[in-house]
């Protein structure tokens, strides 16, 4: 059994940032376990630009952004064991991992940082009727084939879902000579960034069909076509008579991301049904003492910059925990998602804090001329105006800890949106 102060599971953007900040805080016995052959996580295949504007004030591609962190990890000499899959975590922080090089290993960690990322929702979970042919890929799987393997999955493409990966893949497939016929979105709005809609779809005259979905999949062996229908924006049910057939050999799915929390559950950590990630307090500590969670395994982020920022915080707090400097959580208040708010993080906030508290969430719909508010008990303590809120962009709101000390009778913290839903 190897003893490690801080064991980080996952060597993607979250794990790398957590490792660096823990090191910079003073920890020296850190270990990163990464299941793939190289560090960098999903960024390795995100070869498009648009990363790092917040962190580095310049626009980088995914591999470049990752490399900045990898270089730091190497410079600090933080050990990272790649090709190593964690298969078990116990609540007392014994981690079991397997690798070709070292076989089956046990680690006893003082602290664990969960940074496993997320996965894509597959076709099966949508219940779309039709054939079970080949040619249906999640956008990320197709991205791996094109960007890392140099292989083209198909030539005539329909994209279901307008998440950013789907939009990015619409442009990539176009660049590679494919014809992208349409991007089909169930909701009346896109979950993708406006910039991606303009630069990945509009630039190449790819129609974005809002309030539409795929209702049938044709093709006994390889995909031959999909039927797209308009849906009622209220019920999301297809409207009869609006069906249109698109002949295509490839259907890419960009219908949502799910944090990958199998290991988290094994460790006995409580999962939030709203985020599908761990429940954490303002230190990003989960319901199991000394186990922290950050990045897309905690909740699905919109920008990698925020993943890095959040994970750096987890790294520092894990260091403090190991040093016995992280105060025990007492007198915590639950954070409740009010009107228009989905999956606020953290879920628990201590009443005895010194630093400003940040709450992140995703709006439940599109709201124009909205105001985001935080109430401690019945008292509104923070508000931020916004011209527009959309589910595609996370909202971050800070408030001062003094309000918590002032309102000792408060039983909860509520985050809510004040606006007309458009």
């Amino acid at each position: 059994m190897r003893n490690v102060d801080i064991l980080i599971i996952g060597g993607g953007p979250a794990g790398l940032a957590a490792a660096i900040s823990a090191y910079e805080a003073g920890s020296r016995n850190i270990l990163i376990l990464e299941r793939e052959e190289n560090l960098g996580g999903i960024l390795k295949q995100c070869i498009h630009n648009g990363f790092g504007l917040h962190t580095f004030k310049e626009e980088l591609t995914g591999p470049e952004y990752a490399q900045r962190y990898i270089d730091k990890v190497l410079e600090y000499g933080i050990p990272a064991q790649c090709d190593t899959m964690v298969i078990d975590i116990t609540p007392d922080k014994v981690v079991t991992a397997v690798s070709r090089g070292a076989g089956l290993e046990h680690f006893k960690a003082k602290s664990i940082i969960l940074a496993m990322g997320c996965r894509e929702r597959p076709r099966g979970s949508l219940g779309t009727p039709g054939w079970r042919c080949s040619g249906i890929f999640t956008a990320g799987t197709a991205q791996k084939f094109t960007n890392l393997k140099g292989m083209m999955p198909g030539k005539r493409v329909v994209i279901l879902g307008s998440g950013d990966i789907g939009l990015i893949m619409a442009r990539r497939m176009t660049f590679m000579g494919a014809k992208v016929l349409a991007c089909v979105e169930l909701m009346p709005f896109s979950a993708g960034l406006k910039r991606n809609i303009v630069q990945c779809l509009d630039d190449y005259d790819i129609p974005l069909l809002l309030s539409h979905t795929v209702v049938d999949i044709a093709g006994r062996e390889r995909l031959e076509g999909v039927t797209v229908a308009e849906v009622d924006p209220k019920t999301l049910k297809p409207i009869e008579g609006t069906e249109q057939y698109y002949e295509c050999d490839t259907l890419l799915l960009s219908v949502g991301l799910i944090p990958e929390n199998e290991l988290t559950t094994m460790a006995g950590v409580k999962i939030s049904p709203a985020t599908n990630g761990a429940e954490v307090n303002e230190n990003l500590e989960t319901s199991v003492e000394g186990i922290f969670s950050c990045g897309n395994v905690l909740h699905v982020h919109d920008l990698v910059d925020y993943v890095s920022e959040e994970s750096a915080k987890a790294g520092v707090n894990a260091h403090k925990y190991v040093q016995g400097q992280l105060p025990k959580e007492e007198n915590t208040l639950e954070v409740v998602s009010g009107f228009g708010v989905s999956g606020a993080v953290p879920q628990h906030i201590s009443q005895e804090l010194d630093e400003p508290i940040t709450i992140m969430f995703r709006p439940r719909g599109v709201f124009k001329d909205a105001q985001v508010c935080i109430d401690v008990g019945d008292v509104q303590v923070a508000a931020k105006k916004s011209r527009i809120l959309t589910p595609g962009e996370m909202v971050t709101l800070k408030f001062s800890p003094e309000y918590l000390r002032k309102n000792t009778n408060a039983d909860k913290i509520t985050v809510r949106v004040e606006a007309q839903q458009s």
Binding site: I47, E64, K149, K194, I197, Q199, R387, G392
Partner: protein, 117 residues
């Protein structure tokens, strides 16, 4: 000529219309903030884009990811892609290295965005 674009400054996605005389902007309407106005002025005259692509590496099992050193004119994207896909590079290549100089005769270079040893 009337041209219509969508602002990418924020999720508002304002529809901006402008009247153009060649490269000269006669009027802009529909923007709701200064970011939008500035974006429209650039986008309407000489729109540019960063281009990222994949390039063949002799004897390597993975393609090399590359990008333009700065945004290039939107109208040159496909010429640029054609030039990139028509060329191969020798290993090793390092992140930041110029792999094609003056792509499509522009002052823009193509640079590697990852290492291939």
């Amino acid at each position: 000529m009337i041209k219509e674009i969508t602002c990418i400054g924020c999720p508002m996605g304002c529809r901006i219309t402008a009247e153009l005389d060649g490269d000269k902007i006669l009027s802009i309407e529909g923007y709701t903030c200064n970011i939008g106005k500035k974006y429209a002025q650039e986008e309407l005259t000489v729109p540019t884009r960063m281009v990222t692509a994949l390039m063949h590496v002799y004897g390597a099992d993975q393609p090399l990811s590359v990008k333009t050193s700065k945004p290039i004119e939107k109208s040159k994207i496909f010429d640029c892609l054609k030039e990139i896909s028509g060329k191969s590079v020798m290993r090793p290549v390092h992140i930041g290295e110029v792999v094609i100089k003056n792509v499509c005769g522009t002052p823009v270079d193509i640079i590697a965005t990852r290492d291939v040893e």
